[in-house]
């Protein structure tokens, strides 16, 4: 018998036997498909609080699972596995291993805020997605996503000089993510643009590479922002118990050291 809602079941949990006899009746090819039941035992009740401690995740507790977020989601329309409603459910239930199955796509939220618009409970799912991908990175489940690298490159420039210069951002981003700058489509785009531009403007554009745009008298703001950011960072580390994790890792390593010496 075919299983109709097959996409809801993980392929590895669907078992079909070639030849099967039950109670003396040969059911091969007809009643020979089974779904293996799955048992979740590793609840991590701390996840919800940890994600709520990160910026954007504060209102996750309000969710009543209506699914408006997933329904309105831009990314869900191009990738059905991208399911904010489900992830909020998993986080609130503490089903860490299930959440980790999707760890490599959660960062793909494009911040279009359609979910925020649709949500009847003001959960701000967009913020929850950002907090969740941030959590995954802080806990070491995923490397920094390209989006996070971009955010960092961008924010560093803003905090340092008060303004950004797009060319510099693009170059730093490709460098930090180890991609070549000469992407064929970027080259093509620049070609199409440059051909029509007058020489004077090309000169001005080139100049931006040497003269960084910056806000004057920015020093005070820069220092104040950095000080605040450092405090916040420490608070978040504490909420996620990251310092303890590092300490524990050190303790685990210690007893083995004499052995290594021998």
């Amino acid at each position: 018998m075919p299983i109709h809602e097959e996409h809801l079941i993980r392929p590895e949990n669907i078992k079909t036997k070639e030849n099967l006899v039950i109670d003396g009746i040969d059911v091969s090819g007809h009643w020979s498909t089974f779904i293996e039941s799955r048992v979740v035992t590793d609840y991590n009740e701390a996840i919800e609080d940890e994600i709520a401690a990160l910026p954007g995740g504060e209102h996750i507790h309000r969710c009543w699972q209506c699914g408006s977020c997933t329904n309105s989601c831009t990314v869900n329309a191009v990738n059905a596995d991208f399911n904010p409603r489900y992830w909020i459910y998993l986080i609130r239930m503490g089903m860490e291993s299930e959440l980790l199955r999707d760890k490599d796509i959660i960062w793909q939220c494009v911040s279009c805020n359609k979910c925020t618009y649709a949500c009847p409970r003001d959960v701000f799912p967009e913020g929850v997605m950002k907090a969740t991908s941030h959590w995954l990175e802080l806990k070491g489940h995923t490397p920094k996503s390209p989006s996070m690298v971009f955010d960092e490159v961008f924010s560093e420039q803003v905090i340092e000089t008060g303004k950004i210069e797009e060319g510099r951002i693009i170059r730093s981003f490709f460098k930090r993510t180890g991609q070549p700058l000469m992407q064929d489509w970027l080259v093509e785009m620049v070609k199409r643009m440059v051909l029509k531009l007058p020489v004077k403007m090309l000169f001005t554009l080139g100049l931006a590479n040497f003269v960084r745009p910056r806000t004057s008298n920015w020093g005070g703001a820069r220092d104040a922002i950095k000080e605040y950011a450092a405090e916040k960072h420490a608070e978040q580390r504490q909420a996620l118990g990251l310092d303890e994790l590092v300490e524990m890792a050190k303790q685990e390593v210690k007893p083995r050291l004499p052995e290594a010496a021998e």
Partner: protein
């Protein structure tokens, strides 16, 4: 706009993108202001509003960055209206305004950083932040615009694309969805109204507020290309010759991924991408070069000539 403010003279906050990829939007906005006799007073020594990136590092730093711009406009220049043509800047200033009105912690953080930075703390209500669309609509209106059109857009078929940040999330735009005369967050129409007054024909475009994937233009290019492809296809299916934009991120996103879709998926689209201020400028008799049509990647000159606009 039901408000009594007439926006004849406003503080102008161009933002970083308008000094880079959105250069054409900057000059066309200024040209439109000049042609309509409206004065733009650029915010002195402005800084980045935080765009879509800083909030992911810490939202309150973004609130501070946006508040500084408003503080300068209000306390150092004496303005009560800030006009931002970029959707991102507009959105962030609105968001900061909302947070500073409602959230005590945001207020404290902004106050603390502002004091250390050595300028007055911005207080909610000191300025009204408006988009370039609100500005033209409020100061001139469709009727006023119709009288001033020298070079009609001759029924050019336009898909009006507003993007995400202009209408979402709804709670930071308290003046929208207030009945007749106000902007709608589900079916925005200010750009449609203005371009129609300039002689264009607006097509029935279903993806006005769809997302172009602008936040991940570079970090997740494949998704962005798919999203832009949707927009381009829908515009062409609606019979549009031009997609009118009102955001530098959307604009460069559409242009970049139009090229990328061609390179990567072999999908060639003919629809041209222009800022609404470029279209309005030309309708008001400004030369295409002056509104920066040649700075766009998407080459629309032949279409504009064919239509008798350029």
């Amino acid at each position: 706009m039901a408000k009594t403010t007439v926006y004849q003279k406003v503080a102008y906050y161009p933002g970083c993108a308008l000094e880079g990829t959105g250069h054409a939007y900057n000059r066309s906005t200024k040209e439109v202001g000049k042609a309509l006799g409206l004065e733009l007073d650029e915010v002195k020594n402005w800084n980045c509003c935080g765009a879509m990136e800083v909030k992911n590092i810490d939202p309150k730093i973004q609130t501070y960055l946006s508040s500084r711009v408003m503080s300068i406009a209000a306390n150092e220049m004496g303005h009560d209206v800030v006009m931002a043509p970029c959707n991102g800047c507009y959105h962030n200033l609105k968001k900061a305004e909302y947070d500073l009105e409602k959230d005590e912690e945001s207020k404290q953080v902004v106050d603390r950083i502002s004091k250390k930075a050595g300028h007055k703390t911005y207080e909610a209500g000191q300025v009204e932040t408006i988009h370039a669309l609100d500005w033209i609509k409020g100061a001139i209106g469709e009727d006023g615009l119709r009288e001033r059109v020298k070079n009609s857009l001759n029924g050019l078929k336009i898909a009006n694309y507003y993007g995400c940040m202009y209408t979402r999330p709804r709670h930071i735009f308290p003046e929208k969805d207030q009945g007749p005369g106000s902007e709608s967050t589900s079916q925005p129409h200010f750009m449609d109204d203005l371009l129609e007054a300039a002689g264009a024909e607006n097509v029935d475009f279903p993806l006005k507020t769809a997302c172009c994937g602008g936040a991940h233009t570079l970090s997740d290019s494949d998704t962005s290309t798919l999203l832009v492809l949707n927009i381009l296809r829908a515009a062409e299916a609606s019979g549009a010759e031009v997609i009118a934009t009102e955001c530098p991120t959307c604009h460069s996103g559409l242009e970049m991924h139009q090229v990328r879709a061609e390179k990567k998926y072999g999908y060639e689209s003919n629809v041209k991408i222009l800022y609404f201020t470029q279209l309005l400028g030309m309708a008001l008799g400004v030369k295409p070069k002056q509104v920066g049509v040649h700075e766009n990647v998407s080459d629309s000159m032949s279409l504009l000539k064919e239509k008798g606009i350029a």
